[in-house]
Structure formats: structure tokens, C-alpha cells
């Protein structure tokens, strides 16, 4: 959707025109869904959360500052909802775990991949679920970074705004997350 049309639609939604919101949902649904899926690893749950993200966006549209980027605001809602959901599911699970510097990655290097890859060429769907499974082995805060960085190729600055963490932290997490995934996916 071109920027002008998006701005126009947001104005209409703010005035109470619900149909103008439909275009916005249609345009962003794939990205929001993919971000949620990368973080939570389950399609049905990802779809529920993504829907809720759009509903929240609609309900809170008055608080959206039109001078800012809509996608940043929308993705923040989606990532926050997903993180909440992960916390509820497994309160102690990995969420705040760190991947230590390069040395700490041995932890992951030692873990054998849980499912062996079939020897023949993998179908893309299987490959995707394999990759997703490997991503799910990372702590949640790395997953959110990987989702944002590699699905929408967002800039480091945008990611820092979405997740409300400093750019330096974003960099470190991308580097560590990418390094951890390299170890898990090097044999693919």
C-alpha cells in the first residue's frame, strides 16, 4: 500500500470508518502473522495473536501518532502480545535467557539437532518447519529480533523502536542470534 493511501485510510479509521481498516489488515496480515509465527512457532496461535494485534490496533487507533511509521506501531503491538503469550505459556522458559558471547554458543553447538534432515532434497515446507524448529530453540527475545530482521528486513533503528531497546542491544542480539542459528543450520 502506498504511503499516501495508508495515511488516508488511517485518517478514515480515526473518524470511525471501519471499512477503511479492512485494506490495512489485508495489506499487513502476512507480515504480522509471520512475525508472530516466528516467535511462537505455532500457526494457529500465531493467527490468533495476529488477529488480536489488529483488533488492538483498531481499538487504540486514536493513540497512533500519524507522524510516525504505522508498521513500527503495529509490529510493536504484535510482538508485545506474542511475548505476553509466551510468558503465560512457560513463565520460566528461556524468555530472559541470554546467549553468551561466542563461547557461550557451545551450549547450542553441543545440542544435536532434534530431527535429522531427510537425505533426499527437502521439500520447502519441511525445510521451513525444520528451520522454525531450530529458531524455537533460541530464547524468545532473540526470536523476536530474528523475526523482525529477516522477515521484513527492517533496519536496526526500526527494530530498536519496535522492541523499545537500544540499537546497540539490537545489534548484539542479531549477531548472537545469527551465530546461534548458523550452528544449528550449518548442516542443512
Amino acid at each position: 500500500m502506498i504511503e499516501e493511501k495508508l495515511k488516508h485510510n488511517i485518517k478514515l479509521v480515526k473518524k470511525g470508518d471501519q471499512t477503511a481498516f479492512e485494506d490495512i489488515v489485508a495489506y499487513y496480515q502476512n507480515k504480522v502473522f509471520a512475525i508472530c509465527y516466528r516467535m511462537i512457532g505455532d500457526k494457529q496461535e500465531a493467527e490468533d495473536i495476529a488477529q488480536e494485534a489488529f483488533i488492538r490496533a483498531y481499538l487504540n487507533i486514536q493513540s497512533f501518532d500519524e507522524n510516525r511509521k504505522f508498521s513500527t506501531w503495529l509490529y510493536r503491538i504484535a510482538t508485545n502480545l506474542t511475548i505476553d503469550r509466551i510468558r503465560k505459556k512457560k513463565p520460566d522458559y528461556y524468555l530472559d535467557a541470554e546467549i553468551k558471547g561466542t563461547e557461550g554458543l557451545n551450549l547450542y553447538a553441543q545440542l544435536p539437532a532434534e530431527q535429522a534432515l531427510p537425505e533426499e532434497e527437502v521439500e520447502s515446507l519441511e525445510m521451513q518447519s525444520y528451520i522454525q524448529n531450530e529458531i524455537m530453540q533460541l530464547p524468545a527475545k532473540y526470536r523476536s529480533i530474528i523475526a523482525l530482521r529477516f522477515l521484513d528486513e527492517l533496519s536496526l533503528k526500526e527494530i530498536s523502536e519496535i522492541l523499545e531497546i537500544p540499537v546497540g542491544t539490537v545489534k548484539t542480539r542479531i549477531h548472537r542470534g545469527r551465530e546461534a542459528l548458523r550452528k544449528r543450520l550449518r548442516h542443512v
Binding site: G16, D17, E22, A34, Q128, L156, R178, E179, R182, R186
Partner: protein
């Protein structure tokens, strides 16, 4: 892979498009001479490629519909306004029927009294309102439930509701003569104003 800590950092900076020219040169020349780092770099690029390709990451087809269905009901005013703009003819018809069933008939029935503008020196004889010879009506003349005879002058239209125009040779009417003598005509006549006021709203 002993050299790699610093070099790996440069690889990540490179992959993030966040590397200085000098560092990039350093990385390039190192990669040419170090097989271990070359391998590491290839693996990182491949990882990015694997994670970036996401052919099947799509929600279900009715995703948008489901979201829209879960939104709170829109304010009625907005729905109605949009609907009326999309369907002007239906709106007119709907208003017509609403008026019809909501007592406009009784309004019509209670409205059988003769009525005409007062204070204009008009004369009433039986069922007829007469504009006398030396009288000039500056505006429209609306008369209900009576005939009209214009011997003087009317500068606007003559609107006759449930009445007839009895022509008088001497009289002068600048505008049109509109006879509205059926209940439905009368309703349409009233409706026109209403519809106009609805659509001029924005």
C-alpha cells in the same frame, strides 16, 4: 578458528550493512587468506538465506474477514451515512416508506384545514383564496385545501396543495403553478426537502 572473534564481528556488521569502509577492506582481505573464516562467512550467509526465504508463511484465507468480524460494531451514524451515500434511491424510498407508515397519513388527514399566508391582504370566499387586483405577493404563495384565484400579482410560484387554480384574466403569476393535490404528491413534495437536507450533510 583462532582469528575469528574479531573477524566474526566484522562479518555480522557486514551482513547488517553496518560496517565501515576500512573494516570491510580488512574483512575482504582476511577472507581471501583464511579458509576457516571463509567457511564461517559462507555459513552465516546461508543461514540468513534459509531464515529469510519463507514461502509458506501466510495466515488463513479468511484472516481479514475474521478480524473485521471481531471489531466492535461501528457507530450507527457512520454506517447509516455511508449506506445512504451508496444507495441514494433506496434511501429516498426508505424514507418515503418510513414516513408513510409513521403517521404521515394521519398528519395529512388532520391537515384538511384551509391555510394561506396571513397578513397579505388576501380575500377568502367560500373555498377560494383570492389575490385581489391591487395586491402583489413578493414571494411564493402556498395555499392548502382551497382554490386560488389571482387577480393581482404573484412574483414567485403558486403552490396549490389539494386545490385548483381558477384563472382570472387580469392576474399575473411570474413563477410556476404547482398543483399538489394527491397525498403521495404531497409527500414527495415534502420529501424532496428532506432528501436534499440529508445529502447536503457531510
Amino acid at each position: 578458528m583462532k582469528c575469528n572473534k574479531e573477524m566474526v564481528e566484522l562479518m555480522h556488521q557486514y551482513l547488517d550493512g553496518d560496517i565501515t569502509r576500512d573494516d570491510e577492506q580488512l574483512l575482504r582481505s582476511h577472507l581471501q587468506s583464511c579458509e576457516a573464516c571463509q567457511k564461517h562467512f559462507q555459513e552465516l550467509k546461508r543461514t540468513v538465506a534459509l531464515v529469510t526465504a519463507n514461502l509458506e508463511l501466510k495466515p488463513s484465507n479468511d484472516f481479514t474477514r475474521n478480524v473485521m468480524a471481531q471489531l466492535p460494531k461501528e457507530k450507527k451514524r457512520m454506517t447509516a451515512k455511508r449506506w445512504m451515500k451508496l444507495h441514494p434511491m433506496l434511501t429516498a424510498a426508505a424514507i418515503f416508506f418510513i414516513l408513510m407508515f409513521s403517521g404521515i397519513f394521519s398528519a395529512w388527514n388532520q391537515d384538511q384545514q384551509l391555510s394561506y399566508p396571513k397578513g397579505q391582504n388576501l380575500i377568502v370566499e367560500n373555498d377560494t383564496v383570492i389575490v385581489p387586483k391591487d395586491v402583489v405577493i413578493e414571494d411564493d404563495l402556498e395555499v392548502k385545501n382551497a382554490n386560488v384565484k389571482v387577480e393581482g400579482e404573484v412574483k414567485g410560484d403558486v403552490i396549490l396543495i389539494n386545490g385548483e387554480h381558477l384563472s382570472a384574466s387580469a392576474g399575473k403569476i411570474a413563477g410556476e403553478i404547482k398543483e399538489v393535490d394527491q397525498v403521495f404528491n404531497w409527500m414527495w413534495y415534502k420529501l424532496k426537502d428532506l432528501v436534499e437536507s440529508v445529502f447536503s450533510l457531510d
